[in-house]
Symmetry: C3
Subunit: 161 residues, 3 copies
């Protein structure tokens, strides 16, 4: 990673399938052209980073409730519009598959291969009681707002999604 490399900084605040896809499409598109991309996952966006089938002991009731209510990983997210009790989301996924658009889990895999940095928000993890072992191995580190600000201030493109 050279100092001269142009950078992109994306906050993913939303936990919806369409917004997460938009974030990863821009991230992988930018990384493919040689830019350095850092994605910061916070609040509902943490859902995208959840690993499936991980059980963690010793959570408080309220932490368990967050665990039940938030989507369990990238393939469980819903659309922000036209979700229609799951029908719309399923329909959209099928159309995308048919039209050969990469799915969100595939986009995450591509992002990894292109060297996109995935950062999890320390405060969100604290509030929701999420542990490191519940997150995808692809997550690079757990950071605070100071890291985000420092990174974003060096970036050509800064987005909040």
């Amino acid at each position: 990673m050279s100092e001269d490399q142009e950078r992109v900084s994306i906050v993913l605040f939303s936990g919806e399938l369409d917004k997460a896809m938009a974030a990863f499409i821009i991230a992988t598109g930018a990384a493919a052209t040689g830019m350095r991309v850092d994605m910061f996952f916070t609040f509902w966006g943490m859902s995208v980073l959840r690993k499936k089938g991980v059980k963690v002991e010793g959570k408080s009731l309220i932490e368990k409730m967050f665990g039940w209510m938030l989507p369990k990983g990238a393939d469980r997210l819903a659309l922000s519009k036209m979700h229609m009790a799951g029908m719309g989301t399923m329909m959209m996924k099928n159309v995308m598959k048919q039209k050969r658009v990469a799915s969100l889990p595939e986009l995450i895999e591509i992002a990894k291969q292109l060297g996109v940095n995935l950062h999890a928000c320390e405060m969100s993890m604290g509030v929701m009681g999420i542990r490191r072992e519940e997150l995808l191995d692809e997550v690079k580190d757990i950071v605070g707002v100071a890291t985000y600000v420092d990174d974003a201030s060096r970036s050509k493109i800064t987005l909040f999604i």
Copy 2:
């Protein structure tokens, strides 16, 4: 368009009246001060670009469904809050008219006159089965994410709305 001109790059992902208005108010405000403005319409934001009364033959059932479900153009969008089965949106439109705030179709016209570039997202059009002839004549071109990234990386202001 000179190379020295300062640039603004706006992604309009949302298909809601209030967010579309915010995007166009910023776009026209920036263009009025002499900046070059590029707007990229994607996902639900494609609704803003739909031309009224166009019938296209040969669409698949699923493409027809997208056509029925998405708002048919800039004057059919709803508010993201207080839509209240159309009453809130109508009320807001009336208040804006009364207070002499430009409507969304008027803002699009102003954007055109100020030379704002409207770009439609290739992938969204593919997924939703939208054809070029269904889009406003004001749309400059149909582009992919690489074009967006290249443009945004040259811009002073980059927004995702």
Copy 3:
């Protein structure tokens, strides 16, 4: 305020607790590192700036309706997800308190102490019939889109939340 100071420009369009908190966490985080931060409140984001218990005479019916429907200040906002008729929002506020995360009113106070500039949107105030005396004393001024564009074009980080 020196000309060399790096700048951050944030539009807060949303009137939801979680998005407003995210905006203020980034704003105070950036200000704490010595950056100049300007926040522009528009549309539903105006709710954050409302002072409690102010009665203004001479409003039209429609202006009164906006007053009733919009949240009355920073401590009345709801979550964008999991609001659940107030239960989810209350739960989130309790967890945050317990984990020693600053509340939104506290974040506004910190922002003030760090010199973050809060700007209210002229057009939104006009449309919703909000008067200066209904806004927090912390609000620096009431500005139009030209001021926003000028400010954002000088900023390293530009966000729309």
